[in-house]
C-alpha cells in the first residue's frame, strides 16, 4: 500500500534529522550486528503494547476483511466463501449511494462549520477579560460529557408539545403550533438537528486546538502589523491565519475521522425512524449487524469505511508529518 512507503520515507528522514537527547549511551555509530539483540531487549517493554495493538486492533481488521468474503448465517455460522458477493450486496443496495452522499454531507458540513465557529470562539477566548477562565472551562463540558447523553437532551427538547427547545421555538414565533415540526419524526429534520449536535460536540476540541495555535503567533509580529497600519481584519488574514495552518490541519483531519466514525448522535436522533433516509455509512454498518444480523455484509461495508479512514490517515501523515516531532 502506498501509505506504508510514504510513511517509511518520512520515518527515515525524521530519524536522521532529529537529534535525540534520550538515546542510549551506545547509540552513536550503533553497530549493525547488535540490532537483533536490541530488539530482543526491547520486547519486555514494548511487547505488551504490541500484543494489545495486534490482538485487538489489527487482528479484528483482518477478521473483518476475511469475513467480508464469507457467507455467515444469522446464527453466526460460516458457510464458506462467496467471493465479492457481500460487496455486490453493499453496492447494489438501492439506498447505498444516497447513504454515501449523506455521509459526505455529514462530514463536510459538520467539519467545515465546526472549524469556522471555532475560529471565532478561539479568538474570543484568546482575548483577556475577567472570567475568561470560567468560559474556557465551560467550553470543555461537551468534550467530556457523553455524546449519547448530550444528544438525548436535544432529542427530548425537540419532542412535540413538551420538548423545551420546541417550546422555545414556538414562543419566539419560529414554529406555529406546539405540536412542533415533528423534528425527530422526519428524517430530513432529524438529520439536520444531528448535524447541529455534531457541531456542538466537536467545538471544544477544535477551539482548544486553534487556541493552542494562536499562542504560537508572536506578539511582536502582531505589533509590527499594527505599526504598519494593518487593521484587525487584514492582520487576521495576513498574519494570524497563516500561523494557524498546522493547528487547523490537525483539527480538520482529527475532526474528519471523528465525525466519519460518529455513531451515537445519529443512533439517538434518527435511530427510531424507519427506512434509510437519515443513515450514514457508519449507522448502516450497525443496522446490518444489529437489525439484519448480516455480519458478512456489515464486514464488507466496514471494509469500505476502513479504506476511507485509511486514505484520510494517509493524508494526515502526509500533511501533518507527525513523526517529525518524535
Amino acid at each position: 500500500m502506498s501509505t506504508t512507503s510514504d510513511a517509511s520515507s518520512t520515518r527515515a528522514g525524521a530519524a536522521e534529522s532529529r537529534p535525540r537527547p534520550g538515546g542510549s549511551p551506545a547509540e552513536p555509530g550503533r553497530p549493525k550486528k547488535r540490532g537483533g539483540r536490541d530488539l530482543l531487549h526491547s520486547l519486555p517493554w514494548i511487547g505488551p503494547a504490541l500484543i494489545l495493538i495486534f490482538g485487538v486492533v489489527l487482528y479484528p481488521a483482518i477478521v473483518m476483511f476475511y469475513n467480508s468474503t464469507r457467507d455467515i448465517s444469522i446464527s453466526g455460522i460460516d458457510k464458506g466463501s462467496v467471493g465479492f458477493d457481500n460487496y455486490v450486496e453493499v453496492f447494489s443496495f438501492p439506498y447505498f449511494w444516497p447513504i454515501f452522499g449523506r455521509t459526505i454531507v455529514w462530514v463536510v458540513v459538520v467539519v467545515a462549520v465546526t472549524v469556522l465557529i471555532s475560529l471565532g470562539l478561539a479568538q474570543i477566548l484568546n482575548k483577556a477579560f475577567p472570567g475568561r477562565r470560567i468560559v474556557r472551562l465551560a467550553v470543555i463540558i461537551p468534550w467530556a460529557a457523553s455524546v449519547v447523553m448530550t444528544t438525548m437532551v436535544v432529542y427530548y427538547g425537540l419532542e412535540p408539545y413538551f420538548g423545551i427547545i420546541n417550546k422555545f421555538l414556538v414562543d419566539i414565533g419560529l414554529v406555529d403550533t406546539p405540536e412542533g415540526y415533528g423534528w425527530t419524526r422526519n428524517p430530513a429534520t432529524a438529520f439536520a438537528w444531528s448535524i447541529v449536535v455534531a457541531i456542538f460536540v466537536s467545538l471544544p476540541f477544535t477551539t482548544y486546538t486553534i487556541l493552542a495555535g494562536l499562542q504560537t503567533v508572536p506578539g511582536e509580529v502582531l505589533e509590527a502589523a499594527k505599526m504598519d497600519g494593518a487593521g484587525p481584519v487584514r492582520t487576521y488574514w495576513a498574519v494570524v491565519l497563516p500561523q494557524l495552518r498546522s493547528a487547523l490541519a490537525v483539527a480538520v483531519l482529527i475532526n474528519i475521522i471523528n465525525v466519519f466514525n460518529s455513531l451515537p448522535i445519529l443512533k439517538v436522533m434518527t435511530g427510531s425512524i424507519p427506512g434509510y433516509d437519515a443513515d450514514t455509512i457508519m449507522t448502516m454498518i450497525f443496522k446490518y449487524i444489529q437489525n439484519q444480523h448480516k455480519v458478512d455484509v456489515a464486514s464488507a461495508l466496514s471494509v469500505v469505511a476502513f479504506v476511507i479512514v485509511i486514505v484520510i490517515v494517509a493524508i494526515y501523515v502526509r500533511v501533518v508529518k507527525p513523526m517529525k516531532e518524535v
Binding site: 479484528p60 469475513n67 449519547v148 447523553m149 443512533k267 456489515a298
Partner: protein
C-alpha cells in the same frame, strides 16, 4: 512543572499571553465589557443543554411531559435521584457498575502496558522503534466503530462476547496509542543525564523508571489516565454490539433504550446523565492546560 515536553511549551496558553495583553495594550473598559458579553454568551450556549438536563432531572414525570412545559422547575423533586435507580427500562445500578468496572480496569491496563513502552521508546534507540511509533500513530486514528464487525466475530470466537473482559480489552487497545504518545513526549523531555546519574549510582533500569522518571513525568501520566478514563466512560459503538445483556451494558448504551419509548421517563434519563457527566467533566477541567497537547501531541508546533 519541573519538566515540560517540547510539544507542550507552545501549548500552555494563559500566563504570558495574559501578561502581555494587560500591561502593554491597556485595553479600554468598553472593549473589556464587550469581551465579557461575548464570553457570557459563549458560556450560556455551552452550559445550556446541561442546564436543561439538570432542570429536567428534578421535575416530575407529569411536569416534564406536560403539554405546556415550564422552562424552570416549579418544584424541586430531588427524590428523582433516588427513584431513578429502580426504573424498569434497564437495571441502572448494574449499568453504572459496568461503566465503572470497564473504565477503571481498561485505564489500569492502559497504564500498565503504555508506560513501559513510552519509557523505552523515549529512552532507547532500537531497530523497529520508528515502526512501533508509526503503528501507534496509525492505531490512534482508528476507532472501534469502524472495526466493530471484526471485533464482534473475534470475541464470539474467543467466547468473550458479552463480557466486561472484552470491553476492557477493546477500550484499552484503542486508547493505548494516545497514552503511549503523550507519556512518550513527557519521558523524552527528561534529560538523559538524570537517568545516567542514577544508573551510575547503581540503580537498576526499573528503579530508575519508578524512582526517578515517574515523579518527573507525573503530569503526563495524569493526562493519560484522565483521557483514557473519560474515553472509556463514554464509549458507545463497541459496547452496543459486544454487550447484549442489559446488566452488562454501560450507561451510554443503557440510556438509549429510553429513546422512542411510548412514555419516556426523561427525568430519570437526565438524573442519571447528570450523575454520569459531572465527575468526568471535573476530571477534564483538571487537565485543561494539557487537553490539546493530549490529542495532538507532536503535531502542533
Amino acid at each position: 512543572m519541573a519538566v515540560t515536553a517540547p510539544a507542550f511549551e507552545t501549548i500552555d496558553p494563559p500566563a504570558p499571553a495574559r501578561k502581555r495583553r494587560y500591561t502593554e495594550d491597556q485595553v479600554p473598559i468598553g472593549k473589556v465589557l464587550l469581551r465579557m458579553l461575548a464570553g457570557l454568551i459563549v458560556l450560556a450556549i455551552f452550559v445550556l443543554p446541561y442546564t436543561i438536563m439538570f432542570f429536567g432531572s428534578v421535575k416530575t414525570k407529569s411536569q416534564i411531559r406536560s403539554v405546556d412545559p415550564t422552562y424552570f422547575p416549579t418544584e424541586w423533586h430531588w427524590e428523582n435521584y433516588i427513584d431513578m435507580w429502580s426504573t424498569p427500562e434497564t437495571p441502572l445500578p448494574q449499568n453504572l457498575i459496568s461503566t465503572i468496572v470497564i473504565s477503571v480496569f481498561a485505564t489500569l491496563l492502559v497504564l500498565l502496558v503504555a508506560m513501559p513502552a513510552a519509557y523505552y521508546t523515549a529512552r532507547f534507540l532500537f531497530p523497529g522503534r520508528m515502526v512501533f511509533l508509526f503503528l501507534v500513530i496509525v492505531t490512534q486514528m482508528l476507532q472501534p466503530a469502524v472495526l466493530t464487525s471484526g471485533l464482534f466475530r473475534q470475541f464470539v470466537a474467543l467466547d468473550l462476547i458479552d463480557t466486561w473482559a472484552a470491553m476492557i480489552l477493546i477500550n484499552a487497545a484503542f486508547n493505548l496509542s494516545f497514552a503511549v504518545w503523550i507519556m512518550h513526549s513527557f519521558f523524552a523531555g527528561i534529560p538523559k543525564e538524570v537517568d545516567e546519574a542514577a544508573q551510575i549510582d547503581g540503580a537498576s533500569r526499573l528503579t530508575v523508571l519508578f524512582k526517578i522518571s515517574l515523579p518527573l513525568v507525573w503530569p503526563g501520566i495524569v493526562t493519560a489516565i484522565v483521557f483514557t478514563f473519560v474515553a472509556c466512560w463514554n464509549e458507545f459503538a463497541a459496547s452496543l454490539v459486544i454487550l447484549s445483556t442489559a446488566g452488562n451494558q454501560p450507561l451510554s448504551v443503557a440510556l438509549t433504550k429510553f429513546v422512542g419509548q411510548y412514555e419516556t421517563s426523561w427525568q430519570y434519563v437526565f438524573g442519571v446523565s447528570i450523575v454520569a457527566i459531572v465527575p468526568v467533566v471535573i476530571l477534564f477541567m483538571l487537565i485543561e492546560k494539557r487537553l490539546v497537547g493530549g490529542l495532538t501531541a507532536g503535531s502542533v508546533k
